[in-house]
Subunit: 185 residues, 4 copies
DNA sequence: CATGAATGAGTTTTCATTCAT
DNA sequence: CATGAATGAAAACTCATTCAT
């Protein structure tokens, strides 16, 4: 039982600050101060701020999808899993005071050269989309599952960003209703 | 027919830069250089960078909604107007190379104290939502129009942000399909 | 009678520090501290440290060649002017404690991308060479003056760098002797 | 026949980097990376970066003078040996793309406290000067050899630094001509 | 109403060196 | 004899804003 290593402390601190305050609003100095690490130690583990962000998004992808998988594994029927996904969004976003999606937030106002961050966002959204489609394939043909999955994915993304702007859960509820309609539940 | 005044030149230049390059990526110096005005002249018209952003969003709201209204006024049936809205999104986003929504982009990574920008985003999204609901009230009860309008609004927001991440129009097409399903077209 | 402007103070301070301590050994902070200028003020006048160095070398070229011209204008015969040039080197280098040549010193250990500094060094040395050749053309054919001028130029460069390494005037005296031999004085 | 030890690998790597890229432009990290040794291993063998530079210059002195001696041993007459020295300079500098003299390059922009490096430069230049004088003593009195040797030494130094600035062999050729004149060849 | 010089506090990144193992 | 993590200090540069004219 030892205290977490420097690299982990940096990632955890940066994850918190990047998500809550934003990537551009979070300086290297704040990260190292709050992580209790020397600046050069940080640059021993990460080549650049962008690389920290990539680690942040990789970690976030693991945690976020794990949470989602856990939640939807509690129910069996594909339609129930989709509804559970909307419930998951609602609960998560409420807990973080509608701070929105880490990937959406970071790519919207990014220095042009930081392409690895963009790749992370594309990857994450594709992975989530595949999860949705996989669920639907238990009830529909592959073709139908793909069509529906994309529609549900769009609904979820809209629910996240709109609830962030409005600081209100109604977009998530509307998305859930719309999702139910599309699934003809 | 005279050349635009200082204030307008600043707003126009800032609008272009804020939207295309991002709010945090655009410095005051770049704005005044490209607008061809002195720094202190700029601060005579705007108290702060945030205030320029507010003017940018006000102007953008006018232009964006005008374009939308013009587009949907070309058709009569409420359902057609909704479909035209999706077509409008698709064309617009293609033209700007899927640069996304000016309001979404600016609020996701913002200093905490810049509340007036947030207010602009809330206002804009509410206005657009009201436009959608107004259209639907021509075909449905107020209650039904409100419910459907919110769902369509969520779809549109998701289409914008997801097409931005993927640099691809498929989310807009999926949103349109889903919108058609919800309207039972 | 007003105090010198910020830009001049920066150039003068940087000139002193670059020459006496070296380009790499002189940081931006030291320059602005000793010049009594804010960092951003400095960057308003100079785009980069390299640009300060270019201004330093331009200024140094003016001052250095002016001093030389003044010295050699005191005598008439071309051979005397050349000897006066060696005397000038000897006196100058003694006064600066054999700190050597500003252009030699700056190009020998320079970041590869700073090409404008290299251009300054090439320019300065060519100008000095032309001064020498011009003098000799008063006594020799253009061809002979060119050949001899290059040889004298090499002697002078060697005298400067070798007196710098040895912290001793003997290389300048040897160069003067050799110069006299070459001119058959 | 075994692979070179850690210390030698460091010296060889540092020699290459210090000479080709410059002392200030070469970081400790680059040296240990390219030498494939751990940082603390390096500091086991060398107290500081300066000490590596001293070893680099010691090694360079051996290699450089050995090459020169080999070249001039091919001819017998003292005057031919001097001419061969100029030829050696020309060939060497062309091969290294006129990168100049390792000692000149390192002392011109150095932290003031690194005196041991300066000592190396003084030592090397004196040794070379003595080589020249020794050659000349085969044809002249000691006094005459000393006078001429110093003049030739200045010419060579000038040829090296000026060919470095101009990235051109003309200063070496001019130095050779001047040397021939001084030797009355 | 217009100007450009000046600023303090910030940014990200790199340096040579030391220490615990 | 070897290691890689950790460091304080410094590097060059940019930010939004203010002020005297």
């Amino acid at each position: 039982m030892k205290k977490p290593g420097v690299k982990d402390r940096i990632i955890e601190t940066a994850s918190r600050l990047f998500y809550l305050n934003g990537y551009n609003q979070t300086g290297i100095n704040q990260i190292i101060d709050e992580a209790g690490v020397a600046k050069a130690s940080m640059y021993q583990h990460f080549r650049s701020k962008e690389e920290i962000a990539v680690s942040y998004l990789e970690r976030r992808h693991r945690l976020w999808t794990d949470s989602l998988m856990k939640r939807i594994s509690a129910v069996d029927a594909p339609q129930d899993k989709i509804m559970a996904t909307f419930d998951y969004l609602e609960q998560w976003l409420k807990e973080v005071d509608y701070r929105g999606c880490g990937w959406q937030n970071i790519i919207t106002d990014l220095p042009v050269d930081q392409t690895r961050i963009r790749e992370q966002a594309v990857f994450h959204k594709n992975e989530v989309k595949e999860v949705i489609i996989d669920i639907l394939q238990q009830a529909y043909t592959t073709e139908k599952a793909t069509v529906l999955g994309k529609q549900l994915m769009v609904l979820m993304e809209g629910a996240i960003i709109l609830s962030q702007i409005q600081k209100n859960p109604w977009p998530i509820q509307s998305a859930k209703e719309a999702g139910a309609s599309l699934l003809e539940i």
